[in-house]
């Protein structure tokens, strides 16, 4: 059971950062702030109707991808799901290309053919996100198996949620990864909710790590709003997978500030989602906790913070306006990608 990891009132204090490299911590802060601000921009644009399709935002959950990605290489294979903007951004994906994709422009990550829910950035190791819950989990195992057959030290990361753990394919995939020793790190972002329903109404236990136990996969359970706790655990599991130790399972407990889709908080439609919980979880903010810790030891200041915010805000505005001006896909795009243009051998 998760115990106080799921208590919104717990873990609100500044992070413990003694002995850590300040440069690295500022990088993590920057990654999370970029992710937050990009998604806040998307929420605004969706509310205004500039974005025509659904956006699933991960505001409040930024620490998980930021922590995990610290140990990833561009040769690794990362698979996401419906809520994956920040998974790609944490790998260094160009947010202008993300904007263009969400707007359905030819210059987008998926050439304007995917939109928010279907992202692709292979040069950075992002092997695709799709909204079928659990859909990419076995794909990550296969990409890891490929790495093994290729005698490469690449690994796969499969991001999934607590809701996906109710899909049969996740259990098949955990078993398969284990028996084939496929170097996959399963990262369960347990934000306690499926689209609308609290985990206590869907599962007999609130911790998904029991599924790792069932498949004899080494696991860690951490506060997903503590970027350092995530990074430390992810670092261990990734190193183990990379060095031939087989799959790993990381359960990171977090909470999404917005509803399942788009900009609303969805307090009124979420079953067991409450205003008071959300208020507390906003105090357990992964960004504020790192920022406060850095400021307390003089490694960061409100002025630097303002300056970073201004810089990010400017580049987001600029990228957005470029993406808005970018061309639409040509009419032939409708048919030309159905089959591979490169064809067979």
């Amino acid at each position: 059971m998760l115990g106080d990891l799921k208590d919104p009132g717990a873990y609100q204090a500044p992070l413990e950062i003694s002995g850590r490299d300040p440069g690295l911590l500022v990088d993590l802060l920057r990654t999370m702030m970029l992710s937050r601000m990009v998604e806040e921009h998307l929420a605004d644009q969706r509310r205004e109707g500039t974005i025509g399709g659904p956006v699933h935002l991960g505001i409040g959950q930024e620490a998980i991808a930021a922590g995990v990605s610290q140990f990833l290489r561009s040769s690794d294979r990362v698979f996401g799901a419906h809520r994956s903007h920040y998974h790609a951004l944490a790998l260094g994906t160009d947010f202008k290309a993300l904007f263009a994709e969400i707007l359905g422009k030819e210059t987008g990550l998926s050439k304007g053919m995917g939109g928010s829910m279907h992202l692709w950035d292979e040069p950075r190791g992002f092997y695709g996100s799709v909204p079928i819950v659990g859909g990419t989990v076995p794909l990550a195992v296969g990409a890891a198996l490929a790495a093994k057959l290729q005698a490469s030290d690449a690994i796969s990361v499969s991001y999934l949620g607590d809701g996906a753990c109710e899909e049969g394919v996740v259990h098949e995939s955990l078993n398969l990864a284990r028996v084939l020793d496929a170097p996959t790190v399963f990262v369960v972002e347990n934000n306690l909710f499926s689209s609308h329903m609290h985990i206590s109404l869907r599962q007999p236990s609130d911790s998904t790590a029991r599924f790792a136990v069932a498949h004899e996969i080494p696991f860690e359970v951490v506060d997903g709003n503590d970027v350092l706790a995530v990074a430390d655990a992810a670092g261990r599991l990734i190193e183990q997978a990379r060095s031939g130790g087989g799959p790993g399972f990381l359960e990171a407990v977090t909470y999404r500030w917005l509803g399942h889709v788009d900009w609303r908080a969805d307090i009124d439609v979420g079953v067991a989602r409450s205003e008071s919980d959300l208020k507390q979880w906003r105090l357990r903010d992964p960004i504020a906790r790192l920022r406060a810790a850095l400021e307390a030891v003089g490694q960061w200041s409100p002025e630097e913070d303002k300056e970073l915010e201004r810089e990010l805000s400017e580049s987001i505005e600029e990228a957005w306006s470029q993406a808005m001006d970018d061309p639409w896909p040509s009419d032939e795009a409708l048919l030309k990608y159905v089959y591979s243009s490169e064809g067979g051998a």
């Binding site: 692709w120 695709g128 198996l145 057959l149 098949e172 398969l176 990608y337 591979s340």
Partner: protein, 331 residues
């Protein structure tokens, strides 16, 4: 003429795997029963011993995860073949095939190449009943992004398998246990470009066009022999690749003969035979037609187990002969 060893259809499939595994290190095979002749007949015999159990993987009982793993491995540079010894059980894998493999090229603007081959075996009859019997090729042919291949001959069993695996698109390769004993000669393996493969005329004729695929092609060929004795000359087309379907040869043949019998081992409604008739209706001028088109298919019912009902259920050579005869007499 150089000596050619006579093969059967099952061992020709094995020859295809043998060729692929020896020539292409990025090829591997996974599925249930690959280390056992019980599941896959003679089509995989000893490949695990030759190429190792890490490249010929007998898997847990997890159709979906294994097929999804095939898709994922293909994105990461491999050319996997996922084998389903019975297509009925492959239905667990529909998400990986239909939502993932078929969509990734289009959805990611041509940047992702899920070049996985999913081999599903039709394994029916023998009083096995409704869940050990299905021929679901029409379903897969309905999905844009999939190539659906149904070899009907010994040479195609090997060469279309090779072409499927070397193709950069996801392929559903469907073979049929009722064909495994079919004998034929097997010349040296060919690396065909699957995109250029499609229907072929396997027997020329003038009176009536029989269109079929997979096992139904053999029914059509045998029926055409009987019909010839009655003075009815059949042109037989073997579709070979049913998606994407190139209807040109079917249209040309029916424009010539003015008569069509479409034979399919699947159900009638919204099936492959429906598509063949639709192509003919759309493209053959009505004044070229001499008779109404006829279909020979399964009745729209699940497969029975009782041998009496099973005899009624599956199409026979006599069914094809009767259909063609009535079509030839009309008009």
């Amino acid at each position: 003429m150089p000596h050619m060893k006579e093969y059967d259809y099952g061992s020709a499939i094995r020859a295809g795997f043998d060729y692929l595994l020896s020539e292409y290190p990025e090829v591997f095979v996974m599925g249930q029963g690959l280390w056992s002749p019980w599941y896959v007949g003679n089509s995989m015999t000893d490949l695990d011993k030759i190429y190792g159990t890490d490249r010929v993987i007998d898997t847990p009982v997890s159709e979906l995860a294994c097929t999804g793993a095939g898709v994922g491995a293909s994105l990461a540079g491999m050319r996997p073949v996922v084998v389903h010894p019975r297509i009925d059980f492959m239905l667990y894998a529909l998400d990986a095939i239909v939502n993932q493999a078929a969509k990734w090229s289009h959805m990611f603007g041509g940047q992702a190449h899920p070049r996985v081959t999913v081999r599903g075996i039709i394994n029916r009859g023998g009083e096995q009943g409704a869940q050990h019997s299905q021929a679901l090729h029409s379903w897969f042919a309905h999905i844009p992004g999939l190539r659906v291949v149904m070899p009907a001959t010994v040479a195609d069993a090997r060469d279309l398998l090779i072409a499927s695996v070397l193709c950069d698109d996801p392929v559903v390769f469907i073979d049929d246990r009722w064909l495994y004993d079919l004998k034929g000669e097997l010349p040296a393996p060919k690396e065909l470009d699957l995109r250029a493969q499609g229907p072929v005329v396997v027997r020329e004729g003038v009176d009536i066009t029989l269109v079929a695929s997979g096992y139904s092609t053999q029914l059509a060929l045998e029926a055409s022999e009987v019909l010839l004795e009655e003075g009815i000359s059949c042109e037989v087309l073997d579709l070979r690749v049913i998606a994407p379907l190139d209807p040109a040869k079917v249209i040309r043949s029916v424009s010539k003969t003015g008569r069509l019998v479409a034979i399919d081992g699947g159900w009638r409604t919204c099936g492959l035979s429906s598509e063949i008739l639709a192509q003919v209706v759309e493209h053959v001028p009505p004044n070229s037609m001499k008779a109404n088109c006829v279909r020979v298919t399964l009745p729209d019912a699940p497969a029975p187990t009782s041998r009496v009902l099973e005899g009624l259920y599956y199409s026979s050579i006599e069914d094809v002969v009767a259909a063609a005869r009535s079509c030839a007499r009309n008009g």
